[in-house]
Symmetry: C2
Subunit: 300 residues, 2 copies
């Protein structure tokens, strides 16, 4: 028996070597028995592609109300607060975190039967919110976000053990070809990319504005694009949404349109997959980025 | 009679005030009598929209040959040469200028009957090449280019008197939704945006990598988008192209795809519209950016 075989093995180890590597995912994608708001075809498509666009996750009127609230929060935001992120090189608010805890309207939409029910259906059982934020992508100046798997960061920097989490990007404004919509690589959730290098201390302070560690090289993206179904950028009106697996490779280009693009972003994790010590060996990131005191979503 | 009425007036003055302004274009869009390679509908669409996508400006085999040549030139490019532009923050070649003068294959395509013939048809008579370049948009790292009217820069910084020039962006690789295609604002060529501020000395050295002066504010873009037909991003295979008027507002987002996007960009100007002293009052930019010794294109 070799040493390697007796050492507890982390299937999703990353940022320890000089070369990237693609390995097969070891976890299910859909954990539940299939019962919930999504129909069988939607669930099957989510399982195969690692993402699912929904024309109407919430209704338009609710989306409009949330947009007004989001703008009010941005106008009142204190840029010195840790959970308020400012665009690089400018004063515009890029993100406000933890809105499921700090704002009544956002708390209600996160715990609503349809939104939380879909998370339970896919993740198989009780769920909590690992992270929530409003993403503002200011008109003419919203910056791009390079390709990444959220799970890679959540595993290495936050201590999320397994791939049993998902994100919902809920469009509060229309998302179209010209305002920097979410881009996903179909099928990329099936492979895990171990990224090169180390994580600098307090990496999160910069990575929220510009990701430089835990990002895949061009060759890895090419592999994912060619092994899967290619790049897609779901569009839709206010109230539409894209669900995607925690390991789905995604990113977005800048917003050059003269109109802002605003989304509510909610990450659900299984209560059985709560955070432990970060796998990268450094102290965990602050709680606004990764909840360390999970509360079942209906109890929020 | 006031002073203003007796002073020779520059209808396209820009960068002299603290406020932007939109004024009506004073020049024709299509100058010729309509005879040439484009059909009547194509010419009408170009006149109305200020741009025209062409499925096949050159054939695919020629595009493939030019792409090979472009890559050979990039591999051999000397980054210290003035007409070789490097991506900000990286070593990748962004543009190589003046290829119609320095390379036989690119010279031939620029003076070919179809390419030069379309320029003559639209601009009404003999034409020369104001500028040519290969634009490389490297995979995963090609940067965005903010909205601008080329004519604003050519008038202020190069001394182009009137709006009697056009650009052809010829796709040597496929241009698709994900590799940072050219975006245009339909109908924007009908209005001229006087930009705010002054032009720094030797502005061109930075502006080729990142445009900061002579760019419209968000409000001007909103006006153009709403007055015209909105934003469009023509896509197409190698050999397809987009023609656009010198005053059409255009830009492009970054290339996050794992494949490079390469275009040949050629600017034709009427021989009757050759450069004079720059209207901004500073010395002209170098000749690789704006030809000051025009040669009728068939004589190249």
């Amino acid at each position: 028996m070799t040493l390697a075989a007796t050492t507890p093995r982390d299937p999703y180890a990353s940022r320890f070597a000089d070369e990237w590597e693609a390995v097969k995912r070891e976890d299910p994608i859909v954990w539940g028995d299939g019962d919930g708001p999504l129909c069988r075809d939607e669930l099957r498509s989510y399982g195969t592609e690692g993402y699912l666009p929904l024309d109407k996750l919430i209704d338009r009127q609710q989306a409009a109300e949330l947009l007004r609230e989001a703008r009010r929060l941005a106008d009142a935001a204190d840029p010195d607060k840790m959970d308020v992120i400012i665009e690089p090189g400018g004063g515009a608010v890029r993100s406000i975190f933890r809105v499921h805890r700090t704002n009544e309207l956002f708390r209600q939409v996160c715990k609503s039967p349809r939104v939380a029910g879909i998370a339970r259906q896919i993740l198989g059982g009780e769920v909590y919110i690992h992270q929530s934020r409003i993403n503002f992508k200011p008109a003419c100046s919203g910056k791009e976000f390079f390709w990444h798997s959220d799970f890679e960061t959540w595993h290495v920097e936050d201590g999320m053990p397994r791939m049993r989490a998902l994100s919902m990007s809920i469009n509060l404004t229309e998302n179209n070809e010209f305002n920097g919509p979410l881009m996903v690589v179909g099928g990329s959730h099936e492979l895990y990319i171990r990224c090169v290098g180390d994580t600098p201390d307090n990496h999160f302070q910069d990575s929220l504005r510009r990701q430089e560690y835990g990002v895949p090289p061009r060759e890895a993206l090419e592999l994912l694009v060619e092994a899967g179904s290619g790049i897609a950028a779901p569009k839709g009106p206010p109230g539409s949404a894209t669900l995607f697996d925690c390991n789905t490779m995604h990113g977005s280009v800048g917003n050059l349109s003269p109109y802002p693009r605003t989304n509510l972003f909610v990450v659900f994790n299984s209560l059985e997959n709560a955070l432990i010590e970060p796998f990268g060996g450094k102290p965990p990131r602050p709680e606004f980025l990764g909840e360390r005191d999970p509360v079942e979503v209906s109890q929020l």
